[in-house]
Amino acid sequence: MRNQLKVIGILVFIVTLLTAATDKLLDNYLFKVPANFPKPSYAFANNPITKEGFELGRKLFYDPILSSDNIISCGFCHNQPAAFTHHGHDLSHGIEDRLGKRNAPPIQNLAWTNRFMWDGGVFDLDLQPIVPITSPDEMGETLPQVLKKLNASKDYPILFKNAFGVSTITTDYLMKALSQFMNGLVSANSKYDQVIRQEGAEFTEEEAAGYKVFKSYCASCHQEPLFTNNQFANNGMPMNQNDLGRYEITLLQEDKYLFKIPSLRNIMLTAPYMHDGSINSIDDVIQHYRLNMQTTTNLDNRFLKNGQIERVPLSDIEAKNLKHFLQTLTDTIFIHNPMFSEQ
């Protein structure tokens, strides 16, 4: 019995040590869990953010060396001023390709997600960059070729050595570096955050009224504080045979036309909207929920009443207030942070 207690005591001690160690890794100037955020889901224990790793990831993110024509970088489609989306482009270039049929999502707060892409087909941030790098209509490069170029370059072998202590650049470390930079892209300084954290900011009357509307009709999917619950849903967008959404991954009928519920942080900066970029303005998105939602296969239950479609019943004033609230989700510190920009 005594021995058992001792063992338990030691276990608790080790667990506490480990937790302390992880918390330390998670708390430096490059990555801090915001006070109003939950614990991240990324496995930081395998890849803690370091200055060298983050800066290397940033260099790679903005370097067209990852593409076959040496012209397109990650930053080409993920622009900082647009919260790392491809502002003004409904679909990324390309025709028949999977990426080519979808709108580039923001890169922000990815440490709190473990299903990436509109269909959630990628389940580890470290595996995500393989998609654009090898996709024929995006960067069109092959991984062996990228590694060859990086290993033969003047500066990268030294930078990987400094960041990871390795003498050869491998898939694992290439992806770890990119993840360190992307994990560092935390957006948590909008007016909304400052109000919630009681940092002195206050909602205007309209914003406060809009927040109420939001909590009634939107928050169960676009859940605070990340403004997504990381699930998949159908929100009544017109169906298009070319993109079956989550079904393309699971082949389950119940997943047909379900898409990842996107975060609404920085939403004013990321037009056009939806997986296919088919809605151009936030006013039109609100009109979609009020008036245009369609009875689709697998339309979410929250938009159904007794099997009939029930669109979001907002008055004109409520719609206007809702927009005012959504405007409080813009984080200007995030889009201007020089640490996130091409150097």
Binding site: N46, G121, V122, L127, I130, L147
Partner: protein
């Protein structure tokens, strides 16, 4: 360093895969084969994963090859890959068991656990065995052309890329196949220090066209991860046979 005892007790054995199509050995591009529906075809690319190998001795003892060293990519274009070399305890083996494909758990491991043939950067061009957009490995890949009556007209191209490991959140299509081959009829493998037996297996890839479902190139020219992949995987589940053991 392993102790001398441990080294001594493990002895070498080979498992060889001879790929066939309807009993004929495969010659890439120029060989001509016929499937169960009478379609003639040639094969330009053929490769598949063999993993998680177990050897079961005549008295029922199971030896599991250490998992990190139990992933092999058999490539028709590279004869060296068609013979797997293992070190196993001495004994008389009556059965082998392996996965055709990659087990679900390994499909979800961090990149640091995906080295060698599992490294997504280890594949050149058409030989790619990893799906980036639906994270997971391609287990079996065969490409080629239907051969038409007029030899100057190129026949329809076929591409069969079969993968899917069962999903992350809820059960989805799982095309992982477990193969068990009984060695008792064609010869036990007698593993002992100082010799190197070879278990010779055949893999008749034309089996993918027939069995529970009939697959024709005309109807299904390209199958990649859709529901039809399950029909093909169920067919090719029967493609392996034990041919002989060279002791």
């Amino acid at each position: 360093m392993q102790s001398t005892d441990a080294v001594k007790s493990l002895a070498p054995i080979n498992i060889q895969f001879q790929n066939m199509a309807n009993e004929l050995p495969i010659t890439l591009n120029t060989g001509k084969y016929t499937n169960a529906s009478g379609e003639s075809f040639s094969i330009s690319l053929l490769q598949y994963f063999v993993s998680n190998i177990e050897l079961i001795s005549a008295d029922g003892k199971v030896y599991t090859v250490p998992q990190d060293s139990s992933y092999f990519l058999i490539k028709q274009a590279n004869p060296q890959t068609q013979t797997i070399q293992l070190n196993v305890p001495e004994g008389r083996y009556a059965k082998i068991k392996f996965v055709l494909g990659i087990d679900s758990v390994r499909n979800t491991k961090p990149l640091s656990k995906r080295t060698g043939v599992l490294d997504p950067s280890s594949y050149e061009g058409a030989e790619n065995m990893y799906w980036s957009w639906n994270s997971g490995y391609i287990f079996f890949k065969m490409e080629g052309n239907k051969i038409t009556e007029n030899p100057s007209v190129a026949g329809k191209k076929f591409r069969y890329h079969i993968g899917l490991f069962g999903g992350m959140d809820k059960p989805t299509l799982n095309n992982i196949k477990i193969i068990e081959l009984d060695l008792t009829k064609k010869g036990l493998a007698k593993v002992r220090w100082g010799s190197q037996p070879t278990i010779v297996c055949t893999a008749d890839v034309a089996k993918m066209f027939t069995g529970n479902s009939t697959i024709t190139i005309d109807q299904f020219g390209t199958v990649m991860g859709g529901p039809t992949s399950a029909l093909i995987a169920n067919n090719y589940h029967q493609m392996f046979k034990h041919k002989t053991t060279i002791n």
